[in-house]
């Protein structure tokens, strides 16, 4: 256990997956339901070791389908609940996630993204960006999506995601990747008991005589009613726009902007350092909330820079959202690696240099 010295919390060296699980216990999660899959099985393992000692519920389900439906039941019953998986498992959960979004239940879903499609590879990937940010299952809905870029954020974003999920009565996702889950870094864990539980008067807890029965459902057979629910959801997504979070690195005097999230953003941060030493005035915008997406920030960034280069560990997914935000004001380029490959900072700088040459704006 971590030591307290002079009232200051001490850093611990932890794997991303374990830091996330420990943070969830400190966030007073009532129940975790999951199914093993690499590269995130440590989360389930951590819970199975810790929850019995710390009065929480942990259950290894028979499948991801069962796990997400246990989350639905437990969240509907008023619990603070979560699940985690990696890409193929998250695909299996999609029907349940759509039900959870429609029934407006708060919960936390963690995707430690691995390379695909198919069974793919257990190596890190960002190939699930579309699935995470555009809904993923059937119907018009979104999840709140947070993208950590360090072990510290793997822990911190658990608190943020749960707070937002409960504020908006919506499922929230932490979209990490295999590297963030597996790597060890220093982390200062959030304090236990610092996330109060809101009232959930809508939950199924047994109907007392003084109130009408509570019903958790996603079934609204009359189209007028179903459209009404859709309007409710859309209003919520509009209201969520104020939760946009992003990080700006070396953008003050930048003539070129990199845009990258998660692990790619860490690679790009290094690329910025290398490029700046070469005299290239480049900065980085890192979306932290992938949904809601920092549209406005990227739009105003496009007014300042000559071009943008989006770096992702996929075939080009977030780049579509960046293009929409830039709306033709400046060229948007893409650099991607796929299938579990991580771009190197040098690769990113090479790409920057060749773009600069091509666009003959080398006098930077």
């Amino acid at each position: 256990m971590e030591q307290k010295t002079n009232g200051k919390r001490e850093a611990r060296l932890m794997k991303g997956n374990e830091a996330l699980a420990e943070a969830a216990i400190r966030a007073d999660i009532d129940a975790y339901f999951g199914y093993p899959i690499t590269p995130q099985s440590e989360i389930l393992e951590y819970f199975t070791a810790e929850m019995p000692k710390r009065h929480g519920i942990v259950l290894q389900a028979e499948s991801e389908v069962a796990a997400i439906n246990m989350v639905y039941g437990a969240a509907g019953a008023g619990g603070r609940v979560m699940t985690s998986s990696s890409s193929p498992g998250i695909s299996l959960m999609q029907e349940g996630i759509s039900y959870i979004a429609s029934a407006q239940l708060p919960c936390l879903i963690v995707n430690v993204n691995r390379g695909g499609p198919g069974l793919g590879t257990i190596q890190p990937s960002q190939g699930d960006y579309f699935q995470a940010t555009k809904g993923g299952g059937h119907g018009d809905y979104h999840l709140i999506v947070l993208a950590p870029a360090s072990v510290q954020e793997m822990a911190d974003f658990v608190f943020d995601a749960i707070r937002l999920a409960e504020k908006y009565r919506t499922p929230a996702m932490i979209l990490a990747d295999g590297a963030l889950g597996q790597m060890m870094e220093k982390v200062v864990l959030p304090e236990e008991g610092s996330l109060p539980k809101p009232e959930k008067p809508w939950a199924t807890v047994g109907k007392p005589a003084y109130r009408k029965r509570n019903i958790i459902t996603s079934l609204f057979i009359e189209p007028e009613k179903m459209e009404g629910i859709n309007f409710q959801l859309q209003d919520k997504y509009t209201a969520m726009q104020e939760e946009v979070r992003y990080e700006e690195i070396a953008l003050d005097d930048a003539e070129i902007a990199l845009v990258a999230f998660g692990l790619s953003a860490r690679v790009c941060q290094k690329a910025v350092d290398i490029a700046r030493e070469k005299g290239i005035r480049v900065g980085l915008l890192r979306p932290i909330t992938l949904y809601p997406f920092p549209k406005k920030a990227i739009s105003s960034l496009a007014d300042k820079v000559n071009f943008l280069l989006v770096v992702e560990m996929n075939a080009g997914q977030m780049v579509e959202d960046v293009e929409l935000a830039v709306n033709g004001k400046k060229p948007v380029y893409f650099k991607g690696r796929m299938g579990g490959m991580i771009p190197t900072p040098e690769e990113v700088v090479d790409r920057l240099e060749s773009l600069i040459e091509k666009l003959s704006i080398s006098e930077v």
Binding site: E62, N69, Y72, G73, A77, V81, T204, R213
Partner: protein
């Protein structure tokens, strides 16, 4: 002593349980779902557990059960009722939790959830309405459909060579150590309804003991899907369903 109510000089001896809402059932005339709903809600009223009961109604003709049952309820995706019920029960171990599932739901798309919930001995009541057909979607073959039975997807009758055999999932589940009480009942006669009621009562009593899953199969009818009148359907049920799905207790709690 029960108070007698007089209406126009007649004594009221039978009324809707207070645990049912005012909404009229949407079920087809003669459908077993209505009877099971009523009996279940009678038990909840008589045991005084309305405030402590949470139900799960998955996709199937009874997905709107929450329109009629005046208790806290959750709808569930097709096949996932026992996973949802597990989530609820784990959060509220002191509450009564039941699932109410059709044969398609429990024995086809949700087979994994069914077996694993019972295998964990989830301390819930599972009510399984076996009408040997998919009622809601218009009468397609169910896992429990009898051999040679005609449905909209077995127009020449169910042949085991291509479609396998009627799945006696209740017998299968009774073999699992997590199953505490397993019984097969019906609602085609007054006597059968009385026995079903007893079984539901017992199941809720057992749930207080926290010893495992109670499982009640109700061999029921689907006049619309079977293309019969209610009376014909009950006769067909006695003649064809009962030989395959004989009524009675399959697993009783061991006396201690």
């Amino acid at each position: 002593m029960q108070e007698t109510i007089q209406i126009n000089g007649y004594e009221l001896v039978y009324k809707k349980p207070s645990t049912l809402t005012e909404k009229p059932f949407h079920y087809c005339p003669g459908c077993g779902h209505s009877v099971v709903h009523r009996v279940l809600m009678e038990v909840i009223e008589e045991m005084g557990i309305q405030e402590r009961t949470i139900g799960v109604a998955p996709v199937g003709c009874s997905v709107f059960a929450y329109d009629y049952m005046d208790i806290d309820m959750q709808e569930a995706a097709h096949g996932r009722a026992t996973a949802v019920a597990t989530g609820i029960k784990r959060i509220h171990p002191d509450k009564f939790v039941f699932s109410y599932q059709g044969d398609g739901d429990l024995a086809a798309i949700g087979t994994a959830e069914t077996i694993h919930a019972v295998n964990r001995g989830e301390n819930i009541l599972m009510i399984f309405i076996n009408n040997a057909i998919y009622g809601m979607t218009g009468g397609q073959m169910a896992p429990t459909t009898l051999l040679e039975q005609v449905t909209s997807t077995t127009p020449y009758g169910r042949k085991h060579e291509a479609m396998g055999y009627p799945l006696k999932i209740t017998d299968l589940l009774a073999n699992l150590p997590g199953a505490y009480f397993v019984t097969r009942q019906a609602v085609h006669s007054v006597n059968a309804v009385r026995k079903l009621k007893k079984a539901i009562e017992k199941s809720f009593e057992y749930q207080k003991l926290n010893r495992g899953t109670s499982f009640i199969e109700v061999v029921s009818n689907c006049p619309s899907g079977w293309k019969m009148t209610p009376v014909e359907s009950n006769k067909w049920l006695e003649e064809n369903m009962f030989p395959m799905y004989p009524l009675g207790d399959i697993k009783l709690p061991k006396e201690k």
